[in-house]
C-alpha cells in the first residue's frame, strides 16, 4: 500500500431535502489511477464538486496529505483547493473560449509565477523575465501534448477532441498532485478514446500524479484504472480492482438489472 493523498470520510451532501451524496468515504493514494463509475445521477460529478470545493459538503471530512502534513479541505474555496494541488476538468468543457490556447495554459500557471502589480503595469525587466519563463513553460507543456501548432488560436476554434485535451493540459499546468477528469472521453470516437487512454497513462507516468476519472466508457475505465469506486443513488456501492468489480453481483445488478 502506498501512502494516501486524499481521504474523504463519510461525506454527505443534501440539496434541500434531497440527498445527492450519502455517507461516502473514499481515499486516493499517491500516484494512483482510480475510476469512479455509476449510472447517470449516481452523484459522481457531485462528488467531484464536493472534493474540489465547487459545492460545500453538508457534513463529513476531506483531508489532503501534503509534505507539510495533513490539511483539511472542509470549507475551503475552489481556488484554495486548486492551489493546494487538486485540479480538474469538466463534464461539459469549460475552457476560456475567447482566449488563446497559450493563454488558457498560462492562466492556470498564475499562482506559480508571481508578478507584482507595479512590476507588470510598469513593465520592469523582471516582468519580461517572468513572462518569458511562464511562456516557455507553457509552450513546453503544449509541445508534450502536441498542441504547439494551435497555441495562438482562440480555444473556441479547436475541434472537440482537442478541446478536451487542452482542458487536461490546462489542469496539468496548475501542477496538481491530484487530477480529476470528468468524463474525458464523452463524445469521442473509438480512435480518439484510444488516444486518450494512452494520454492518461502517459500523464500518470510522466507527471507522477494521482488521477481520478469519471467515465461511462467501460473499455477505457477497465483498461487504465488500478482501482474503482462504484456509486449508486449517492451511496458507495463497491470498491476494488477492475476485475473484482466486474464480478461484483451488486454492480452487475445496478448496471444490467435496472429495476430488478
Amino acid at each position: 500500500m502506498s501512502s494516501p493523498l486524499l481521504t474523504a470520510q463519510q461525506i454527505v451532501k443534501s440539496f434541500g431535502g434531497l440527498t445527492a451524496v450519502a455517507n461516502v468515504s473514499v481515499h486516493f493514494d499517491q500516484n494512483e489511477l482510480i475510476g469512479l463509475i455509476g449510472p447517470n445521477g449516481a452523484g459522481k460529478t457531485t462528488l467531484f464538486n464536493l472534493l474540489t470545493g465547487v459545492t460545500p459538503v453538508t457534513s463529513g471530512a476531506i483531508s489532503l496529505y501534503t509534505d507539510q502534513g495533513v490539511q483539511s479541505l472542509n470549507g475551503k474555496k475552489p481556488a484554495e483547493i486548486a492551489q493546494a494541488g487538486i485540479s480538474r476538468t469538466f463534464q461539459n468543457i469549460r475552457l476560456f473560449k475567447e482566449l488563446t490556447v497559450l493563454d488558457n495554459v498560462r492562466i492556470a500557471m498564475t499562482n506559480h509565477y508571481r508578478e507584482g502589480f507595479f512590476t507588470s503595469i510598469f513593465r520592469t525587466p523582471k516582468f519580461y523575465r517572468t513572462e518569458a519563463d511562464m511562456t516557455t513553460a507553457a509552450q513546453k507543456l503544449l509541445a508534450i501534448f502536441d498542441l504547439t501548432g494551435v497555441a495562438d488560436q482562440p480555444a473556441k476554434n479547436l475541434p472537440y477532441g482537442i478541446q478536451r485535451r487542452l482542458e487536461i493540459v490546462r489542469a496539468l499546468a496548475t501542477k496538481p498532485k491530484l487530477l480529476f477528469l470528468d468524463e474525458p472521453a464523452a463524445g469521442m470516437n473509438p480512435e480518439e478514446t484510444a488516444d486518450l487512454t494512452r494520454l492518461i497513462r502517459q500523464i500518470q507516468h510522466d507527471f507522477h500524479i494521482t488521477i481520478v476519472l469519471i467515465e461511462h466508457d467501460m473499455s477505457l475505465v477497465m483498461n487504465v484504472v488500478e482501482r474503482l469506486y462504484v456509486l449508486e443513488h449517492g451511496a458507495l456501492l463497491a470498491e476494488g480492482t477492475p476485475s473484482k468489480i466486474q464480478q461484483n453481483p451488486a454492480v452487475i445488478k445496478a448496471y444490467l438489472g435496472g429495476e430488478a
Binding site: P78, K97, D103, I107, A108, T110, F122, F127, T130
Partner: protein, 319 residues
C-alpha cells in the same frame, strides 16, 4: 527582448507624434479653445471609458457606477486645489482622489461583486447614486451648488499625458498575468476558480483599478472645466461612459479610443443643430448598435506586433 523594444518604441513614437501634431495645430491656431475643449473632453472620456472597459470588457463585471468614482476624484481636486493652488496641489489631489476612490471601490465591490450581470449593474448604479447624494448633502462639497472657480491647473497637455499614462498602465495590466487572470474570470468563473484563480480577488482588482482611473478622469475634469456639481455625476453620466465602451466594442481598448473620438466629434458637430442635436445623437446611437451590434471594432485590438504576420494568421483562422 528586441521585439519588445521595437514594439514599445513604435507606441512611444505614436504618442509623441500625437502630442507634437496637436501642439503644432494649437500653435498655428488651427486648434482654438473650442476644438481644444472637444479634444480634452475626448481625452478625459478615453481615460474614463478605458477604465470601465477593463471592468466590463475584461473582467466581465457589469458596472453602472463609474460616475460615482469620477465624482470622488473631481471633488478631491475641487476641494484640495481651493487651498493648494499649485500644480503640486493638483497632483496631490489626484493621489488623494485615487486613494478615496480605491477605498470606496473596496467598500462597494467587496459585497456587491458576488452579484451577477444586471444585478451587479443595478447595485453599482445604486452605490454611485449614494455617493452622489452624499456629495449633494455635505458641507465640504458645497452641496447642490457644487464647486466653481476651481483653479485651472490643467492644460490639454496634462490631459494628454495622463491619457497616455493611464492607457499604457491599463494595457500593461491587461497583457500581464493579472490581466489574464481577470479575463479568465470573464470567460468562466467556475473554471477559473478550479485553476486556482481567486475570482473574487481579481474581480475586485479590476474594479478598483477601473475606479482609480475614473478618479483621475474626474480630477482632470474638475481642473479643466473649473466647475463641478453633483448633477454632473448622475446615472446619465455613468451611462454616457458605458455608451462609449459598448459602441467601441466591449473588450477593445482601440475601440474605446475610436468610440470616444467618434462620439466626441459627433457631439461637437451636432452642436450646430440646436435642439435637434439630441434627436440625431440618439438615432445615430440606435442605428450604430443595430448595424454594428458588437461595437465598432468588436474585440479587435490594434497592435504593431502582427502587422507583418497578420495575413498568415487570418488564413489559418479561416481554415
Amino acid at each position: 527582448m528586441k521585439a519588445n523594444l521595437k514594439y514599445n518604441a513604435a507606441w512611444l513614437g505614436v504618442m509623441v507624434l500625437g502630442f507634437v501634431v496637436i501642439d503644432a495645430c494649437e500653435f498655428l491656431g488651427i486648434i482654438n479653445s473650442f476644438i481644444e475643449n472637444m479634444l480634452v473632453t475626448i481625452g478625459i472620456n478615453i481615460i474614463l471609458a478605458t477604465g470601465l472597459n477593463l471592468i466590463i470588457g475584461f473582467s466581465g463585471q457589469f458596472s453602472l457606477g463609474h460616475a460615482g468614482f469620477m465624482a470622488i476624484g473631481a471633488y478631491a481636486t475641487g476641494i484640495i486645489t481651493q487651498t493648494l493652488v499649485t500644480p503640486i496641489g493638483f497632483y496631490l489631489s489626484v493621489v488623494v482622489g485615487i486613494g478615496i476612490a480605491i477605498i470606496a471601490a473596496l467598500i462597494v465591490g467587496i459585497p456587491t461583486l458576488r452579484l451577477r450581470g444586471d444585478y451587479l449593474a443595478i447595485a453599482t448604479m445604486g452605490a454611485a447614486e449614494i455617493i452622489r447624494i452624499l456629495i449633494n448633502n455635505l458641507k465640504i462639497t458645497n452641496g447642490a451648488a457644487g464647486l466653481f472657480n476651481i483653479p485651472p491647473l490643467v492644460t490639454w497637455a496634462t490631459v494628454y499625458v495622463f491619457m497616455c499614462i493611464t492607457t499604457i498602465v491599463t494595457v500593461n495590466f491587461i497583457h500581464s498575468r493579472s490581466g489574464r487572470a481577470v479575463m479568465s474570470v470573464r470567460e468562466d468563473e467556475i473554471a477559473a476558480e478550479s485553476m486556482g484563480i481567486n475570482t473574487t480577488r481579481w474581480k475586485l482588482a479590476a474594479f478598483v483599478f477601473g475606479a482609480s482611473t475614473a478618479a483621475i478622469g474626474g480630477s482632470l475634469h474638475a481642473a479643466y472645466i473649473q466647475t463641478i456639481a453633483p448633477g454632473d455625476f448622475n446615472i446619465m453620466a455613468s451611462i454616457a461612459i458605458l455608451i462609449i465602451v459598448v459602441l467601441g466594442g466591449v473588450g477593445s481598448i482601440t475601440g474605446t479610443f475610436i468610440a470616444a473620438i467618434v462620439l466626441g466629434t459627433l457631439d461637437t458637430v451636432l452642436q450646430n443643430f440646436g435642439t435637434l442635436r439630441m434627436i440625431i445623437y440618439s438615432l445615430a446611437l440606435i442605428l450604430i448598435m443595430i448595424f454594428k451590434p458588437s461595437g465598432l471594432l468588436g474585440t479587435w485590438e490594434f497592435s504593431f506586433k502582427p502587422l507583418g504576420s497578420r495575413q498568415r494568421k487570418e488564413q489559418s483562422v479561416h481554415e
